[in-house]
């Protein structure tokens, strides 16, 4: 536990001093605020484009604002998270920053756990805040098709779980290939490519992207199974990262 106490303090200090929390927060909250405004302005923007007609019933509502925000979270915000987290292990290995802690008997398991917790909790909080901020602005700008608070909480949890899955994946890949940027890119590629498998009937429920897809559609058929399976994947990646960090040569 000494390692956990030391490393969680170190991770928090590092995230504050190197603006990691700020980057993740901006990467989520900007879209939460700008999304509803962009939807409201969309007819005006597209007015000048000949041949494009907007059905206001379909797009000018609170639910579409949420769907648009979830889409931004999946496509763009994930990059802010993955590229912030990917340096956490890869850089420490390549720059030999683990030499002193390892030579003092630090436990690799608690190093990995503290890193995972340090990013997962803020991502959960900021994603939830982002979804509620998005809903608040959507409610000011639109009145149709409101989304219940209970569903907003479910969506927050599911999207956060998808992000946390990506955190565990990027931690594992950066411990495996020891390079931050390739680990980050590979994580995003896996995330984007896996979305294609959701259409396969027998396979779809095993793909974590289903959490995003169901959140966007606000229909939760077999979502519990996918959430449970995603948790299993997260735990597996954490165990694999710990195993890797136990056997890695840090110098």
């Amino acid at each position: 536990m000494n390692t956990f106490k030391a490393y969680i303090k170190k991770e928090i200090l590092e995230s504050l001093r190197e603006y990691k929390y700020l980057i993740i927060t901006l990467g989520i909250i900007i879209f939460a605020i700008s999304g509803p405004v962009m939807v409201k302005l969309m007819p005006i923007i597209l007015k000048s484009q000949p041949g494009i007609a907007i059905s206001s019933d379909k797009f000018m509502n609170i639910q579409y604002c949420l769907q648009s925000f979830i889409s931004s979270l999946y496509q763009i915000s994930i990059m802010f998270i993955v590229f912030t987290v990917c340096t956490s292990i890869g850089e420490e290995i390549t720059l030999q920053k683990l030499v002193f802690p390892y030579s003092k008997g630090a436990s690799p398991m608690f190093i990995v756990i503290s890193k995972f917790i340090n990013y997962s909790i803020p991502v959960l909080l900021v994603t939830t805040a982002g979804i509620f901020i998005n809903h608040y602005y959507s409610s000011i700008l639109f009145v149709n098709l409101d989304v219940e608070t209970g569903k907003l909480f479910i969506v927050s949890l599911l999207v956060s779980l998808y992000f946390i899955f990506n955190i565990s994946l990027v931690l594992f890949l950066s411990s495996l290939i020891k390079k931050s940027l390739p680990a980050g890119i590979l994580t995003l590629v896996i995330g984007y490519v896996s979305a294609a498998f959701i259409k396969i009937p027998q396979l779809g429920k095993f793909v974590p992207y289903k959490l995003i897809s169901d959140s966007s559609a606000l229909t939760f058929k077999e979502t519990t199974f996918t959430a449970f399976f995603t948790v299993v994947l997260i735990v597996t990646f954490i165990i694999a990262t710990v195993y890797r960090m136990n056997h890695i040569e840090v110098i």
């Binding site: 200090l13 002193f100 003092k104 008997g105 110098i251």
Partner: protein, 305 residues
């Protein structure tokens, strides 16, 4: 305190360590010598748990290293050649981090911080600065403070004086000598052979992954150190060198400008014959000295053949 048996380490097909064995007694300052790439740092990295090894046995304080690794590492301090810290932390914060890792209380950390900073001659103001702004010498001193922070019983120091100015080097050597009086075992690698000669009581010379000598430094002097004839001649030395190198009593000759350092196999015979032979070649001798060789000479003879 530390016992190594037939330790091997391979990177692919390349065998860095070829079954090295040695023993370090408690409270001893043990010198580890070798050329670049001989395997010194690899040995240190293995003994501090940073890299794995292929075969062999390591015992620290009588316990098998692999099965008690994390526990045994708490008794170890390691100063790598180029220490790396978390640059966003200040010196004080990093020491607190190390203290927390070692399970020390806040009070213990505070007291020990003052002690180690004073020991390595870093000012309190320096410890409030971010580590990314430290100079090479400051990093080396701070690294030593980190290494000593949790009261280790065995210290591994990899080239601890290489980044220091002469004054800093002397201070660090004095500090290492003081550690001996505290009963701390020091395992020291250095290219600066004078440093090893000054502080170490035991020494091993590593070459191409094998230990070629492992001995008490006094025994080593008695066994291997032999006089060298330094002869300075006028003009070109190549003809003289050609004559001497083929003689049975000559072991090796090193030249620097017009100075020849002649290593002989039989000192008594050389005392009688060498000067006569040199004069017989019509060389003009400017100076002729018999010098007692040092550890550097032994190293040169054993390793750089």
């Amino acid at each position: 305190m530390l016992k190594i048996e037939s330790l091997t380490k391979k990177y692919g097909d390349f065998e860095v360590l070829k079954g090295i064995s040695f023993e370090v007694e408690k409270g001893c300052i043990y010198g580890f010598l070798g050329k670049n790439g001989s395997g010194k740092t690899t040995t240190m990295n293995i003994l501090t748990g940073l890299i794995n090894y292929n075969s062999g046995n390591i015992f620290i304080k009588g316990n098998e290293f692999n099965t008690n690794k994390r526990q045994l590492l708490k008794a170890i301090g390691y100063l790598p050649q180029a220490p790396v810290f978390y640059g966003f932390m200040t010196g004080n914060e990093y020491l607190k981090f190390i203290g927390n890792l070692s399970g020390m209380s806040s009070k213990e950390i505070s007291i020990r911080t003052d002690e180690v900073l004073e020991l390595v001659d870093l000012k309190t103001g320096d410890a409030k600065r971010k580590l990314s702004g430290y100079s090479g010498g400051m990093k080396q001193r701070f690294g030593l403070a980190v290494t000593l922070f949790n009261h280790p019983e065995i210290l591994f120091l990899d080239e601890p004086t290489s980044a220091l100015d002469p004054e800093g080097r002397m201070e660090v050597l004095s500090l290492i000598e003081n550690l001996k009086s505290e009963g701390i075992t020091v395992f020291l690698s250095s290219h600066i052979l004078n440093d090893i000669e000054r502080v170490c009581s035991e020494v091993s010379i590593l070459d191409q992954g094998k230990i070629i000598i492992s001995s008490n430094i006094k025994e080593l002097e008695e066994k291997y150190i032999q006089p060298i004839f330094d002869v300075e001649v006028e003009g070109d030395v190549s003809a003289l060198m050609e004559t001497l190198i083929n003689m049975p009593m000559i072991e090796n000759i090193k030249t620097s400008n017009n100075l020849l350092s002649i290593y002989v196999k039989n000192i008594d015979e050389a005392k009688k014959q060498l000067l006569k032979i040199i004069l017989a070649t019509n060389s003009t001798v400017l100076s002729y000295n018999i010098r007692k060789s040092n550890l550097e000479d032994i190293f040169m003879r054993m390793v750089i053949k």
